[in-house]
Symmetry: C2
Subunit: 392 residues, 2 copies
DNA sequence: TGGGGACTGGACAACGTTGTCAGAAGTGGC
DNA sequence: GCCACTTCTGACAACGTTGTCCAGTCCCCA
């Protein structure tokens, strides 16, 4: 019974598709004047009446307006062949006059592909992750895909929520900077076809593509650099111990010390959250010496955030008298203009993002080879702070 | 009738939902080895064969597996009341054993709301926009919405493409840092119910909500600060003249100069892209004096990117002899650690993002009042570079 | 004038979910 | 034993699009 009136309804040029379905009656009753003419006259009146997109024209409306079939509109909208130029013109007119825009949700449902990828990072605002996000976005754009992204705030549960929400949206692929160390929750998704690339840190308890910087070698070479400049008591301040890169960098630190035959006093090593309070406390402890341990003459910093705090600590007036050498993992803007300029182990965040995204799209294009782990090299950039000799 | 064979099919753990629909035949022919058994045995073999999510279990599959009706599954998935705990348990079992995840595309189509908002900025990697994005994301998250974002690269056409693509995805709302100056293209979308807030710059030729920093007053006070420290020849280097904030800040500069009765030589004013080459050239021109114009003794910088380049220019050895005062619009990390520390007109990007997002969600919650323009104050932070006295 | 091919247009089902509505099963009172 | 009621369940349509398939229409050539 629904069909007959429905069909005649769409033949009507100004077809109120609304009125057939009971679902939209609230919207219809709230904005009854929303006829073609009235709509233009009162821009803000009915704007937020019902559901956000209630009352949007559909292809059916366009078809009725142009006096053609539904599929013909679809063809025009998608630039498919097989529509005479005259018909096309009529359809285009109807489209612009109704303000029609294709509903991609419906398209996605039908086609099974969303042309969007998800990105989960720790913090979108972190100067390490923002160029990385941008690079992923550029690659996505080049492939005609949109980017949906979120910050995990280094919380495994939030990472999981985000990743699964993205999967529920049926993103075509996922780039994840993992916060947690167990990603079995993604197994069904990967099996179902969500291409997944882990970035900066490896996946936990699951096999998948990954793109990592060589944290171990980077840290090793940075600490070796300090040793080469005469330091024998070197501190390490890094990110939380659960984080893979923190562990790897610590391992690099220990390796460099071991290679040089230098002992490591445990008070010289501090892992933890990168908030400035914690870093300041740990720095103070190792710089001033404590519990019978001699103070360090150099510090290796595990990342970006830590380095910036350390730069502040070392710049404090009371520390000026006894210069301490510093090498930091991650480059950062203006590092070269500080005094002393900061020696760093540089990664290229944009390159990491680009590599991960390209790997992802290779998968989406059908690459079937087993998961691979890409390692990107780091580069020591000597600027001054890492070349300060020890005082004693 | 369709149910009986279907049910038996889905009872099979590795149900080949593919093979029932003709829609997937092209995919099947593309990856002919993608047989059912192979999938389980070789996890990565058939993974990217067809459409990304082909063969995912649906509610129908879950229902068949649990021996219940479709709607009951829907009820369980959405935590609706009216399901006995025994039935719920059976459904939950079926869900986990099949690895079912609700398809939000279908949900969106049905419900008309996507629980996602779009954000268009100039450059996600810019240290001004990344905390802003993060703030928008936080607010979105608090409202249970995801964030889809993109960079316009300051290209109006690209901004338009992005914004319309987001509308086609039926985002519930849109936060835009506009690149262009004509947003009439958004009128049909706004009419259709896409809540839209413009951020950092006003919309062009359209009425809509906006959240702006007080660029005029900020620049005026910054230049007045330089004047108060004795400068009479002050340069202004800003962003491209098409950009609203650039114009406003220039206007503030001129106002401060006029208030002090100081003339402005046109070579002291330079607008253009923020790439370092252009800024360096303009800086050199006004610092060295040219064509009978005396060199400036202070520079006011129109933004973040320009300031950083100017800091580098002023730090060059050959410029050290003649210190030049500098005040920059936008604060930036480590500004206080440079020598001299940089005096800035600070905006709070996170606050801007938060305000815009909150305004957006107010609209989505039904607020119907006319579009409003929020102005956020700026704050002068004197650190040293802006207090350098003029040489002559 | 008729027949074949090329082109154009439209009816219909399907994608996976949720809202509506009605039916079935269970409970208690009389 | 029956009715009224509540609680639970499922059939069905609809959301707006695209793929399939068939039916016209037009033109050209024989």
């Amino acid at each position: 019974m629904a069909d007959a009136p429905d069909a005649s309804g769409t033949a009507d040029p100004a077809s109120p598709a609304d009125e057939t379905g009971p679902a939209v009656s609230p919207a219809a009753s709230k904005a009854p004047g929303a006829r073609t003419g009235a709509r233009a006259a009162v821009p803000h009146a009915a704007r937020h009446g019902g559901r956000p997109h209630a009352g949007r024209p559909t292809m059916k409306d366009v078809a009725a307006r142009a006096g053609v079939g539904l599929k013909t509109v679809s063809r025009v909208v998608n630039g498919e062949a097989g529509v005479s130029s005259d018909t096309e013109r009529r359809v285009q007119e109807a489209i612009t006059s109704l303000g029609f825009r294709r509903n991609d949700s419906a398209r996605v449902l039908r086609k099974g592909t969303t042309a969007s990828i998800g990105l989960v990072v720790e913090d979108l605002a972190d100067p390490f992750y923002s160029p990385l996000s941008r690079a992923v976005e550029e690659v996505a754009r080049a492939h005609g895909a949109l980017l949906i992204n979120g910050s995990s705030a280094e919380d495994p549960e939030r990472e999981r929520e985000l990743a699964l929400a993205l999967c529920a949206r049926r993103v075509d692929g996922l780039v994840i900077v993992p916060a947690g160390d167990d990603h079995r929750y993604l197994a069904p998704e990967i099996t179902a076809g969500v291409a997944t690339v882990f970035l900066d840190r490896p996946p936990g308890r699951i096999e998948a593509d990954m793109v990592l910087s060589d944290s171990f070698e980077g840290a090793r070479s940075g600490v070796a650099h300090l040793i080469a400049h005469g330091h024998r008591r070197i501190g390490f301040i890094g990110d939380r111990p659960g984080i893979h890169t923190a562990k790897e960098r610590l391992r690099g630190y220990r390796a460099a010390m071991a290679e040089a035959g230098l002992p490591v006093s445990e008070p010289w090593v501090a892992l933890g959250p990168t908030g400035s309070d914690r870093v300041r406390a740990d720095a103070a402890r190792m710089l001033d010496g404590s519990a019978g341990t001699a103070p360090v003459t150099a510090v290796f910093s595990g990342n970006n955030r830590v380095t910036v705090t350390l730069v502040r600590v070392l710049a404090e007036p009371e520390r000026r008298g006894r210069p301490v050498a510093l090498v930091g993992f991650d480059d950062f803007e203006l590092a070269d203009l500080l005094s002393p300029p900061v020696t760093v182990i540089a990664q290229d965040p944009a390159d990491l993002g680009r590599s991960a995204a390209e790997l992802l799209f290779r998968r989406l294009d059908g690459a079937d080879d087993p998961p691979r782990a890409l390692s990107r090299p780091t580069k020591l950039i000597a600027r001054g702070s890492g070349e300060i000799p020890p005082l004693d």
